[in-house]
Symmetry: C2
Subunit: 198 residues, 2 copies
């Protein structure tokens, strides 16, 4: 057996646990909450499908790698609601740094550094690839919730309004006019049909 | 809104249904069956992690694209057990061809042709990329089931033996010595600990 393979196997089996990390978004048929593994798959598929709306010159395979790995730290740190407080976000960032060391420490160098670099690039949001990946990550739950007729989720999310969602989502989406237009259309539609307060 | 975006949105929401397609493999903690969306994510992550065991010159981003899309037809055609009869496999192939036309027909050309080409390449198993993708697809359920201590799944799969699994998996795995060694190690271990008949 090649020398790195047992460590890589242990890492991949640990990653199986991402399928048990539950998100606050429900599937669009409303049947159950989405988990972070299938969410990561959906985002990667969105990157392939919506690639034409990325900035010219964006390295699409890198976007896909960022999306496939961006939530792995949740295996140890859990998922945080996007509308959580700044303090909760700061605590989560520290927990995710520790989680990254624990999880990526399972594989030897240079692979360990490769995974750390992917995580750091996504979090820093400075490259065109990370910015497109984060825009898709911001857009996807809006689409699922809207398609399910439940944007606003009055029972689950009594404090959400279209104005608050617009303010939360705009920083990630405005650089991608097609995606930002789609997000605004969905929010306006939810207000019009009465599933989300203005 | 860009002209193709509403069709792409409809396609991506239809793809959400892959999260409800249940496979015969269980998560490695035995808690529930895996679904085909999170399975596709896990395979893509395996491609990134195990890339060094692909044939030299393999286009890894293409492998990832194949894995992200290879099960989409199951949204309409359902999943088939890998040990099903040749007749069942032939019926499934016809159902998947119809499913591909229905699903990929949601997006306009040239994107429709892109998705059809991915599906056809995976099924034909002629390119190094499709062969590596199919090897990972053959390996992953063995790893999950073995790690869960349940290879053989005596209650769910009373007819499976190590010899039968070896014969079923070898055609996809033997071209990748590291992966085939790993599969054989796992099968031998399951026989040794008594979870799988020889």
């Amino acid at each position: 057996m090649p020398p790195h393979l047992p460590a890589q196997l242990e890492f991949l089996l640990m990653c199986d646990r991402l399928k048990a990390v539950s998100r606050s978004t429900f599937l669009h048929d409303g049947s159950r909450p989405e988990n972070s593994a299938e969410h990561s798959w959906h985002l990667a598929l969105m990157a392939l499908t919506l690639a034409e709306y990325a900035a010219p010159g964006t390295n699409l395979p890198r976007v896909v790698e960022l999306l496939l790995t961006h939530d792995l730290v949740e295996i140890h740190a859990g998922d945080l609601h996007f509308a959580a407080s700044p303090e909760a976000h700061a605590r989560q960032a520290r927990a995710e740094t520790e989680a990254a060391a624990q999880l990526f420490g399972l594989v030897p160098e240079p692979q360990r550094a490769t995974f750390h670099a992917l995580h750091a690039e996504f979090e820093a949001a400075q490259t065109p690839e990370a910015q497109f990946a984060r825009a898709l990550d911001a857009l996807q739950p809006l689409l699922l919730t809207w398609a399910g007729g439940g944007l606003g989720c009055a029972m689950r999310e009594p404090d959400l309004t279209a104005a608050r969602l617009r303010a939360l989502k705009e920083p990630r989406l405005r650089a991608f006019p097609a995606l930002w237009t789609l997000a605004q259309t969905v929010l306006a539609d939810a207000v019009e049909v009465g599933t989300l307060p203005a």
